[in-house]
Symmetry: C2
Subunit: 510 residues, 2 copies
């Protein structure tokens, strides 16, 4: 037995996390070679004198992060590790800007420490270069993703393969639930990446998160949950598109208070709602993570009240520090209380229009009998291409790579904000996802911040549009997406924002 | 002036139709050479001593059918004509199974005359071959299209072109209304193919007919038409998916009686509805065509009452005999009363998930300001590919080819039905589209017909599912789609149906 983790049962860090960190360190340090097998759960648990659960959780984590993979009939094998990302990963893992609700963010919002590599890569601001850069508009658009690292040639090849004569069926309408092979690949992917436990026959493919939400609304009307229910409890700030769809389907939205570790569960109990929509991995837009304790209480609520949790894991692949917390869906031992939603608009690109739901048995049964053919909006060609991308092992590598790319972009943003905007502005949003919030200490209105930014050639976005109801007590903030910008643009954008926001009369440029 | 059409103003055939037929004949007989110019509308009208309108209509028809094309700054040019389709076209043009509602179909349902070519291509039914064929299930599925004639290599090449570095924007969300270049190509295509007159900024791209219907429902809620209106007049048999969407959006459906030339306009007036949904080119499922007179009355209804017509032209490209009647949308001189819906699920293949709406100005304005990003469900990659297919001149050729392919399939079906099923079954549906109806003279229930067919290894489909309300007086019928079958399968399928339906105890197969 090679693994001798120094576990401490009295330490506040859970055993599974200590074990996970130890094994991850062994892989990163190449003491566990690619291809080598990890001991079985049973053996390692016996060897360490602990129960099997923390070992299972640690292995699941390693698999989810792409450090190891489960191979049929041969156990869990160590995967090759790219050491070029090591420095960034380990620096950031020790930092992290924390979760943080309106209150908690005051204390917890600590930017990531400066990262030497990205600092060095910033361009020298010679007057000539600066003049050129100043004319370029910088759009911190939330929906943009990084395409510089997308594997276009491979994707084109896989998509072209769909034109082989044996794939003619891909040009027809296809399965109303999604192509069977794709749903199998999704079942596997969702487990590896997000610890979602769902067989292929309970997965339904959609054409993006909003379409998946529509499908869930339609299916709810076919089950005991939904037919007679007219209210849905939601986070009091949330995606405006998702909220519009819920209202389209006749639901009254009951906004729940957000605490530093997610929704207020007491308020959920009091609301009397039987359905709750939540973004536990990375609250949208505020960025807090739902704590493990609260997840358990939320699952208890569902079990006690017969309720349903709609878990929107819109950017669950991208967590840069601390432990990626597994999906709520995977924690639901009964596997009957959570409808999980995943999308590829951020993990890959929006153009493929692909998303999926992992449904509890009753909703899945409704989908099989009642989902109308008009719900087949995802192109079978794109489904097949992503299936081949996944089964070829490319998805795991792509996510690992993009996690590192986005982490560096976020680090560049946080570093620039720390240097130029603090303490007049506070950065929040969690070490995850593709956006952060900037909150002015003086409480200035978002509209003024957006206008001043626009005059400086920078686009930033309102947060108030995400409020389900007017919330006068909510602090003012603007939203910055960073997925589509490179590190130079991010730094330049923050520099301009500092100029525009922190000097009432902007100095004229040279 | 080469054109000397023998026009007869006293003949029941309209002048434009006489003129169109004459010019078409000249092109088919190669007396008008490819590339030659037709005289200008003004000149020909003066030359013939008639008004410009019939000349314009005739030219529009020739362009819509691909006999000629309008070239910028050089007038209307004759296009190359493939003479291999001539025999089929001219035989069928003289026949035609006519329009026909429940009543009119009794008189008008005349099958196309036998076509020697397709007769000869049917396989000899040696016992050995027959035994093999008998084991194959034959599915007269409505949604299937012919893929044997789809230009896969060209499409793959055009789609692959989207991966060029200059097209990176195609991998983002894209324009909420649809890609601008694609909407330009659609504006041009809709005019050429269906006489739809609509600038690109009033076109909205969708991910199939059902999605386009959803978009129209959402936009209606934003305009004076829709916000306060809760009823929609519809054809009393119609697509069940479209009906489900209307109900989803809260509309009460008012079914209108179908006459042999379309909906009962008096009943529409009496209904008090402000919105009417109709399939004037080829009623679904019954197949009648709305007459020109009724189209004018319907447009008058809209003008008088301030109403809106939703025109679903789901298979308008495929008309095999007589005059393809231009869209209602193009006949609406005010261009403000018709929302036109077109789809490529039949004209190309369902897998691209592409459709479009040509909207009146008020709905288009609502689309520009209010269409939510969540409505962007059509993949920008497929949009671009079809744009290139259209601007490269391939679409026109493809439609011409497929019209001929489907015409031959329908002829094979009608010929087999005439030989084996008449007079016990009556065929109806019009010389258009990708489906026909079979009506038992003895009024047998559709469920029994479907069950007997299934036992013989043939799938046919119910018609009752399309009834908006139960209609005990409606004759029993089953629906047969023929798009996805070849002529041998069609003949074999009809042979088995005759065996199953017309002999109470089926003889055992050798």
């Amino acid at each position: 037995m090679e693994l001798l983790p120094p576990l401490d049962a009295d330490h506040p860090e859970p055993l599974y996390s200590q074990l996970y960190r130890h094994i991850r360190g062994e892989i990163e340090a190449a003491r566990l070679a690619p291809g080598s097998r990890l001991p079985s759960v049973r053996k390692l648990a016996a060897h360490l004198g602990i129960s099997r659960t923390p070992v299972e959780d640690a292995y699941r984590q390693l698999i989810a992060e792409g450090y190891a993979e489960s191979r049929p009939r041969s156990g869990i094998a160590v995967l090759p590790y790219e050491p070029d990302f090591t420095s960034v990963r380990s620096v950031s893992a020790s930092g992290g800007i924390g979760g943080g609700g309106a209150a908690a963010r005051r204390e917890e919002a600590r930017p990531l420490p400066a990262i030497a590599a990205s600092e060095a890569s910033l361009p020298a601001e010679s007057p000539r270069e600066y003049g050129r850069a100043a004319r370029e508009r910088i759009d911190f658009s939330y929906g943009d993703v990084d395409l510089a690292h997308f594997p276009f040639p491979l994707w084109k090849k896989l998509l072209g393969g769909c034109f082989a004569p044996e794939h003619r069926d891909l040009f027809r309408y296809g399965d109303p639930l999604g192509e069977p092979g794709f749903r199998e690949a999704l079942s596997d992917y969702a487990y590896r990446a997000r610890a979602v436990v769902c067989p292929p026959d309970r997965i339904v493919v959609g054409a993006g998160t909003h379409h998946t939400m529509e499908q869930i609304c339609r299916l709810l009307q076919r089950t005991p949950y939904g037919a007679s229910l007219t209210a849905m409890a939601v986070e009091r700030s949330m995606s405006d598109g998702i909220a519009a769809i819920m209202r389209q389907y006749g639901y009254r939205l009951i906004p729940l208070r957000l605490e530093s570790d997610g929704i207020d569960i007491e308020e959920l109990y009091r609301s009397g709602a039987k359905i709750v929509y939540t973004t536990p991995s990375h609250q949208f837009p505020y960025g807090m993570v739902m704590s493990i304790g609260k997840r358990r209480r939320l699952l208890n609520w569902a079990a006690e009240t017969g309720g349903l949790i709609v878990e929107d894991d819109y950017d669950g692949e991208f967590r840069y520090a601390g432990m990626p917390i597994p999906s709520l869906q995977g924690m639901d031992a009964a596997a009957s209380r959570v409808a999980y939603m995943g999308t590829f608009s951020r993990a890959l690109a929006p153009a493929f229009r692909l998303s999926y739901a992992a449904l509890p048995p009753d909703l899945a049964a409704a989908a099989r009998t009642a989902l109308h053919p008009f719900d087949r909006l995802a192109s079978p060609l794109h489904q097949k291409t992503l299936e081949l991308f996944m089964t070829g092992g490319h998805m795991q590598r792509h996510i690992r790579k993009m996690r590192s790319v986005y982490q560096r972009k976020q680090a560049a943003l946080l570093q620039a904000a720390k240097r130029r905007l603090e303490p007049d502005f506070r950065v929040s949003g969690g070490p995850a996802g593709l956006h952060v919030l900037l909150e002015p200490a003086d409480g200035r209105d978002e509209a003024e911040l957006i206008r001043l930014a626009d005059e400086a050639g920078v686009r930033v976005y309102p947060v108030s549009v995400y409020r389900v109801e007017p919330q006068p007590d909510e602090p003012s903030a603007v939203l910055l997406g960073f997925g589509g910008l490179d590190e130079r643009q991010i730094d330049e954008g923050i520099r301009r924002l500092a100029d525009a926001w922190m000097r009432p009369t902007a100095e004229s440029e040279p």
